[in-house]
Amino acid sequence: MIKIENLHLSYQTDEGMVHAVRGVNIDIAEGQFFTLLGPSGCGKTTTLRALAGLETPADGEISIDGKLVYSGPKSINIPSYRRDIGMVFQSYAIWPHMDVFENVAFPLREMGGRMPKSKIRDKVLAALSLVQLDGYEDRPAPFLSGGQQQRLALARALVKEPKVLLLDEPLSNLDAKLRDEMRTELRDLVKRLGITTVYVTHDQLEALTMSDVVAVMETGLIVQESTPFDIYEEPRTRFVAAFIGQTNFVEGKIDAAANGAGRVGSVATSCGSLRCILPDGAGIGDAVSVVVRPEDVYLADQRSVDGDNMVTAEIAEIVFMGETLECTAIVGAETMRLKLHPSTRVEAGQSIKLVFPADRCRALAS
């Protein structure tokens, strides 16, 4: 549905040239909810704006629904207003001089060929009811609350039934509770409509809960692209692991390579030798970071054996969070975060034995 090939984009700022997008490739299937995730300045918004035709790339190709809308080599650049898209801006960009109805009717009035008044009315009302803004059509646009403006922006983006919906951090200006509601509501809505959606956010929770595919960007490049589950479970780089969820890193060197069964090998760290999943093509002596999620660590019991990555630790701090017990533990020279079951009986200063399950430990090239 959407294909972006080798996209490059740079622009001039007061501090000089910024190479914001440096060779991005994206392929989005029809009806997919695709999320660009990354910290600010990683190029995700710029990529989205290039897709919308609001920025002119330096090189590359973009096609929407099989139609080439930008091509550096072929000197094609279809302007925004002729691309079959709808877009929601971070600031919503609700036109303050129009009422709710006119804001939504605008894209329809701009469509080629005169649409009969009654049809415009029907479509606008349908779009408003889609976002649960029925009855607001005569309200002047500035007199809406933040959440209502957000819905209005969505209705405006959807009213002409575009092939592609582009969302630029649409939830970031809402308060926390409203954001939680809108997350599921927005996802349900676009899935029900079956519209291909590109979503830009820096919020990992939004990315994980809403998307079919997440692409994590760093300094103008996509560093990993897969399903939310895989992104979380199998981060490919240290950056991805650190950006999504809480993570412990233990630095070390590979001392035994993967043997037949799976890709499990052994890494020498300050906590002792840890058995873990090694990256493809890693050899003995490579420096790696071993990644362990806090919720994967558990207290050793009678059934645990030495081969299970059992280490001795000292609890430094305990925070009771309700559903979990968040602990900070000193293991050798490392400080690690753990999430234990709330019923676990531990105290600060206590010496305990922890298990890092080998199939939950992942070594990444550092």
Binding site: Y11, T13, A52, G53, L54, P79, S80, Y81, R82, R83, I85, G86, M87, F89, Q90, S91, A93, W95, P96, H97, F106, P107, E110, M111, P142, A153, R156, A157, K160, L166
Partner: protein, 585 residues
């Protein structure tokens, strides 16, 4: 919670107890603004020959029919409407194009345009008009002489002594302030509003028409009305260009009625006409005030960092640069060069090689030897410095009460301080003329005929500007900063001195310099209040010397004045004051 109930004393006071300081300021502003206007109104119903003859027995309605039944009044009304509409149209359109070019296109040398256009502020209307008389008066203007002598034209090519001439010169004069008001208007618009239209399928032209223009409309109309009020108020340009040809507008007619009063006392009539003039100005100001009120609801600014899309000029590149250069030449360079040339020649004549060889500084020494120049210069300095200082201090006191205190009448105080904005300088001069004469009659002092009369009129005229700017500046200083000083143990006056004043300093200095710039240029009110040498300021001297035909001397003074004003404008820019100056209105 205990901390909630703690009330830091600071500058807030018990609501039930009136602060004597607040009351004093309130009374001062009331006397300054309300009393002269009341006397002006009363005077319009009096048939006293001179303001000093005023008694309650002289009250009559006769002045109003006199003015209203005079066909000349309608002629003046017509001239005023044409002149104001024309000048505003020229000024605002040129400013809009310039602002759009620098804010939204790829025109090169933007920094020169930002710096150059406001320089036109340094060309007083009086000198701008005089320079154009030298260039384009029908018989001796350089342009017309050249056309007739060298190109063989039968008659004058252009005549500056016309409504058209007035529109042109006043139009040029309006550009810098209109430009300074429009730049932030364009800059504060969120480009996402336009981008949303593109992604909705609107073409650029359609977007410009339905989104950009509509969003700009309230601000644009407000700028237009504001500029129309200035054009309505100005005396110098119609005075130099209209009066010799008997083309009168309100400001010049009121002046004439007063100036001729020596032979034929018509003060009551002048007042009655001034009332009409004042009425028009008040209506315009009312609409302006309503508009800026409404436009505040149009919260277009969202606070995201904007990188607006610049329109490539393409084949319009050179015409655009040409337009900018043409404006600079017509508004700044040409008037300056014409006056410089005039000040250096022996007697005024069109430029030729012979003339250049005989140039000298003769007229400059003439000016310095001229007896009245020294005293005028002293008067002017006295007047300008006193005005600027009083305006700055008074506005600061007023704004502090309006913005930070709980004084019961703070709203009224704010509106009263804004009101003089709607009163044309000539009318203000007339109102104060009456007020001073009455004051002197009762107290035996000599306010009228002293330089302080001019100072007082200007102070009242400029506190509207001063308080607007000051309100904005004080609002920007978050009260947290002061509260932090309070809880750190600083008593109120220390907080004021250590935290508040240093933060306010750029605004205070900026207002001071801008008032200097304004008061040195204006001739209207000082001319009305002119009463011998002790009230003579530079603008008045220039006016009378011009009337006596001493154009070369006027040019010499003009050149020196303009160099001083250029320095002041650059100083203002250095203070980064251009933007806040425009936003405060």
């Amino acid at each position: 919670m205990a901390t909630r109930t703690l009330d830091f004393p600071k500058m807030r006071f018990d609501r039930r107890k009136l602060n004597p300081w607040h009351v004093t300021i309130f009374l001062v502003v009331t006397v300054l603004v309300a009393v002269p206007v009341a006397i002006l109104i009363l005077g319009s119903f009096s048939n006293a020959k001179m303001p000093t003859d005023f008694t309650w027995a002289t009250l009559t309605f006769a002045n109003y029919p006199e003015v209203w039944l005079d066909p000349g009044t309608y002629n003046i009304l017509y001239n005023t409407v044409v002149y104001v509409a024309g000048a505003t149209f020229v000024g605002v359109s040129v400013a809009a194009i310039l602002a759009w070019l620098v804010e939204r296109t790829t025109i090169p040398g933007k920094i020169w345009i930002y710096a150059g256009v406001p320089l036109a502020l340094a060309v007083p209307g009086l000198l701008q008009a005089m320079a154009w008389v030298i260039l384009a008066s029908p018989r001796s203007g350089f342009i017309n002489r050249f056309a007739m002598d060298k190109l063989g034209f039968e008659s004058a090519l252009i005549d500056i002594y016309t409504l058209g001439g007035m529109i042109f010169v006043e139009g040029l004069r309006l550009v810098p302030t209109a430009f300074l008001m429009m730049v932030p208007l364009l800059r504060s618009m969120d480009p996402a509003l336009e981008e949303a239209a593109y992604t909705s399928g609107a073409r650029p032209l359609s977007t410009a028409r339905k989104i950009t223009l509509m969003l700009m409309a309230p601000g644009f109309v407000a700028v237009t009305i504001y500029q129309a009020i200035i054009a309505l108020e100005v005396f110098e340009v119609p005075g130099v260009l209209g009066m010799p040809a008997d083309i009168h507008v309100f400001s010049t007619r009121v002046y004439m009625l007063v100036a001729e009063a020596e032979f034929l006392p018509t003060y009551g009539q002048a007042n009655a006409l001034a009332m009409l003039y004042l009425g028009v100005a008040l209506v315009a100001s009312y609409f302006y005030w309503r508009l800026i009120r409404r436009s505040e609801r149009f919260t277009v600014v969202t606070g995201k960092g904007y990188r607006p899309k610049l329109t490539p000029l393409g084949k319009w590149h050179y015409p655009a640069i040409g337009f900018v250069v043409l404006f600079m030449v017509l508004a700044i360079i040409l008037p300056f060069l014409v006056l410089l040339y005039t000040s250096l020649v022996k007697t005024l004549q069109p430029p030729s090689w012979d003339v250049f060889s005989t140039m000298s500084f003769k007229w400059y020494s003439w000016v310095f030897d001229y007896g009245r120049f020294g005293s005028t210069l002293t008067n002017t300095f006295q007047m300008v410095f006193a005005t600027a200082t009083i305006v700055t201090v008074l506005s600061f006191a007023i704004s502090l009460i309006v913005v930070r205190s709980k004084f019961v009448a703070r709203r009224v105080l704010d509106q009263m301080a804004f009101m003089p904005h709607a009163i044309p300088g000539v009318v203000m001069g007339l109102a104060f003329l009456w007020a001073f004469l009455q004051f002197d009659k009762f107290t035996g002092t000599a306010m009228f005929g002293s330089i302080w009369s001019v100072v007082l009129v200007f102070v009242v005229s400029f506190i509207a500007y001063g308080t607007r700017t000051m309100n904005a500046a004080i609002l920007q200083i978050h009260s947290d900063l002061e509260e932090a000083a309070s809880v750190s143990g600083a008593p109120p006056w220390r907080t004021l001195w250590r935290v508040f004043m240093p933060l306010m300093m750029p605004s205070l200095v900026g207002i001071w310099v801008y008032v200097v710039l304004l008061s040195v240029r204006l001739a209207g009110a000082p001319l009305i209040l002119y009463e011998g040498r002790r009230t003579e300021v530079l603008a008045v001297l220039i006016w009378y010397l011009w009337d006596d035909g001493e154009w070369e001397a006027v040019a010499a003074m003009g050149v020196m004045l303009m160099i001083g004003l250029f320095t002041l404008v650059l100083l203002l820019r250095g203070l980064g004051f251009g933007r806040s100056m425009a936003q405060a209105r």
